[in-house]
Symmetry: C2
Subunit: 205 residues, 2 copies
DNA sequence: CAATTAACGTAACGATCGTTATGATACTCG
DNA sequence: CGAGTATCATAACGATCGTTACGTTAATTG
């Protein structure tokens, strides 16, 4: 019972994602949020709780709506294809929207005040989760002969994520999609190959 | 004439560098600054101007005190040595100080409010300058036969900077120096070689 | 149709932001 | 020594931060 909500929560959340994506957690004020979401402050608090809770909701939505290509990439047959897909899709995503470039997982909070430290740590955790799943995928690749026995899967996953993060920084600085894709190709050119037929059965063009 | 300054400007500036390095431009308040620099607010204004001017001074000092290895690296004989030196020194610098990890050039302002936009652009310019000097160095390497004729020097420079920025993000997230060095080595393993004797006359161990 | 309930907009909360009067203090120069 | 000046610490400025009373409006329930 009671009055029914006059705005769509999901739609408002999408708007919040865009604002945080552009300005980061601390760079966003409630004035920014109310303007972008078309919702007055008290409605935000009743629907999402405080700013921190709203950001966490926005981050979760970002991962499921924009970073869904990462779990999808993990299903590709070779580690090289996994990496190629992640790097290329990241280059595209980071330059897709001219008014909020880069990655929310990086833009959200890199260095911040003590007040925002919980958000910074939450972003670190989120990134670490993706990196861990990538490492696990590389371990599987090693077992399959797709990566050499000597491969350091932890380091390889960290390398791929480092390039992705670096591209996000450059995207926020205005780098073109083409330039980021050139960076991605350079990163790919280092990729080790195993000795099974797996990696040769899916040649890159 | 008049009263003489009771604090050392350079020393205070070094303290400001550390604070901005840790919390970024917007994450730092004047309370943080006065506490870290041991100087009251009006003295900061009279010595440095406002917060934006202070940050620009701190950024300049950061480049000359901590990023001096970049111009030094450009003088090394081969492009591979240049890149190796930059990546390894970056990995070290980004993990050197436990209480302000990463890079001021990234931590300073990645995504921010509209008020801090001038600082964000200044950081972009500063990074672009280093990237351009790296590209120019690679062009020279190409002329010397140290890089193949087909090498895309702009993309190579962007790649090296992307890895550096990615390592900075990871350093701020708590990654160890060893892990960052493994990332650097992986990046190095992609490095193209020319066909002159130059690159072979300085083999890596 | 009342009674109840929840979301609405307005407007204000205390705290902190970056910035600056203001008067006291310490130094230089005539 | 005394006039002048620059730096000092205290304290306050208006603006904005994230957050929330409060009275009104619209929907549901008996």
């Amino acid at each position: 019972m009671g009055r029914k909500r006059e705005f769509d929560v999901d739609q408002a959340l999408d708007a919040a994602v865009c604002v945080f994506w552009r300005k980061g957690y601390e760079g966003v004020s409630y004035s920014d949020l109310t303007q972008a979401m078309g919702v007055e402050r008290p409605a935000l608090y009743s629907a999402f709780g405080n700013k921190e809770a709203l950001f966490r909701r926005a981050l979760a939505r970002y991962y499921e709506r924009y970073l869904d290509f990462i779990p999808a990439a993990l299903d590709l047959p070779t580690s090289r294809e996994v990496v190629a897909h992640i790097l290329r899709r990241a280059a595209e995503l980071h330059t897709r929207y001219p008014d909020h470039r880069g990655c929310l997982g990086i833009n959200g909070a890199l260095a911040c005040s003590d007040d925002a430290e919980p958000i910074r740590l939450a972003l670190i955790d989120a990134r670490a989760e993706g990196e861990a799943s990538l490492r696990d995928r590389f371990e599987r690749a090693k077992q399959e002969g797709d990566l050499p026995e000597t491969a350091n899967c932890t380091a390889l996953a960290a390398f791929v994520m480092a390039v992705t993060h670096g591209m996000a920084v450059q995207a926020k600085a205005g780098f073109s999609r083409d330039m980021l894709e050139a960076v991605a190709e350079q990163a790919l050119s280092t990729w080790p190959t195993g000795n099974s037929t797996l990696s040769r059965s899916h040649p890159e063009p």
